[in-house]
């Protein structure tokens, strides 16, 4: 058991950036980030015995992590201070200036639906349409259509922010 855990932790350590990136787009408060990170880690550990190594470990990680993030119960944000808090939270998280493009991108991603966020992340991680389709369980043409829609939306918001 100890050996399996060690192997698992080594693999997670190599790819933990995946979890952090997913957490960064699905939560914006520190407490929720830590909570979701932990939850994803636990789900990966529980599912690890079933990982048959037929796919890449990173692909499997994306699948499990995104599935967990999609069903994660977030705290309800009231509209009033949501935008201000969001900008501050992202700014603090990345320790960048409030006008930085990273903040604009994250705020643009925040406007996407939950599933679109997952597809956007996979696209930005430079996964091809086939890989995205396999992870999400969608057909390839549907993925293409959605990515174009997402890209246009993101670009539109980024242009507006600039």
């Amino acid at each position: 058991m100890k050996k399996i855990k060690e192997k698992f932790l080594n693999l997670i350590d190599m790819h933990q950036g995946i979890i952090h990136k997913i957490v960064s787009i699905y939560t914006y408060q520190e407490e929720e980030r830590q909570d979701l990170f932990q939850e994803i880690l636990l789900q990966l550990w529980k599912s690890y015995p079933g990982f048959k190594e037929k796919s890449l470990f990173s692909t499997w990680m994306y699948r499990v992590s995104l599935n967990t993030a999609l069903q994660y119960k977030r705290k309800i944000r009231t509209e009033q201070n949501a935008m201000i808090n969001l900008k501050d939270n992202i700014s603090n998280y990345f320790q960048v200036d409030a006008n930085n493009q990273v903040i604009s991108l994250y705020m643009a991603i925040d406007e996407l639906g939950q599933v679109d966020k997952a597809i956007a992340l996979l696209y930005l991680e430079q996964k091809n349409y086939q890989e995205i389709a396999e992870i999400m369980g969608m057909n390839k043409s549907n993925v293409g259509v959605r990515i174009n829609r997402i890209k246009n939306k993101l670009k539109k918001i980024l242009d507006y922010e600039q």
Partner: protein, 281 residues
């Protein structure tokens, strides 16, 4: 390179920058991650699994309780009949809970894509939306019954059937009310999760596929509701019959009002009320 391609590259560049920042600032060491692995998951399925295991353990204790009370009343037909029925219900319930736990184990995300994983979970929640809260509600009802039996055993050193039909109806009403309230308390958990998953699937899938899934699950839900209703009605009939059957027994007639299981003087009312509150909790 046209404008569109430039903007695409820009998006990827910004994302890459963000990724590097995250990598530098948020990286956790293996020791810290191992510590996190020792924590409890807040996942709904994990919570349900733990609750079912705890409930099965509680039901095992109830079995001990019923066996004890029956050993103390070997010649009491009423107690033996009640014990037999309750043991049957508890055993069936534990078996159902074991199957539920196995189904939850099967839902662990392994090599399936997100869409299929969500569909499997939706199926699980829709099929068990009534079974799960009903199993928990049964524990409360059984606890109420064994509590009442033990109380009368301790106070009157004997257990007698009801004095009249009103007593039986009152007992049954408390039992059913407790089951219904416990059921209602646990039902929304599944309902909320079903709503979330349906919304996600709607977002992923084509609308017509969602419709066929929903129709199929709706039919299953109605079938399950009908079976549950029939079982409850049969249960009520059996219970009331038992009470009516024992009203006219000589043993009961000789025992007198004081030893009646449902002598509604103040002491018994308070005790029954206490059990009812515990049942509600």
């Amino acid at each position: 390179m046209n404008n569109n391609d430039k903007k695409d590259k820009e998006l990827l560049h910004i994302w890459g920058e963000a990724g590097n920042t995250i990598q530098q600032q948020q990286q956790l060491n293996k020791v810290k991650m191992e510590t996190l692995l020792n924590n409890t998951s807040h996942d709904l399925l994990s919570g349900i699994r733990k609750l079912l295991k705890a409930d099965a353990l509680f039901k095992a204790l109830l079995i001990l309780g019923f066996l004890t009370i029956s050993l103390l009343n070997l010649s009491n037909l009423f107690v033996m009949a009640t014990t037999l029925i309750c043991l049957g219900i508890i055993t069936w319930s534990i078996s159902s809970e074991r199957k539920l736990i196995e189904k939850i184990e099967d839902l662990k995300q392994t090599n399936t894509d997100i869409n299929n994983s969500l569909k499997s979970q939706l199926k699980f929640y829709k099929v068990n939306i009534y079974r799960y809260p009903f199993m928990l509600a049964l524990s409360a009802a059984m606890f109420y019954i064994i509590g009442s039996l033990f109380y009368h055993q301790i106070k009157y050193e004997t257990i007698s059937p009801v004095k009249d039909i009103t007593d039986g109806v009152v007992l049954l009403s408390f039992l059913l009310l407790g089951i219904v309230i416990s059921f209602i308390a646990n039902f929304p958990i599944f309902k909320a999760r079903i709503s979330l998953i349906q919304h996600l699937l709607k977002d992923i899938e084509e609308p017509e596929l969602i419709e066929s899934h929903l129709k199929e699950n709706e039919q299953k839900k109605q079938r399950l509701l009908l079976i549950t209703a029939i079982l409850i009605v049969i249960g009520i009939i059996v219970f009331v019959s038992l009470f009516i059957l024992f009203i006219g027994t000589p043993a009961f007639q000789d025992a007198g009002a004081q030893n009646s299981i449902l002598n509604y003087n103040l002491d018994i009312s308070l005790m029954d009320f206490t059990f009812f509150i515990i049942l509600l909790a």
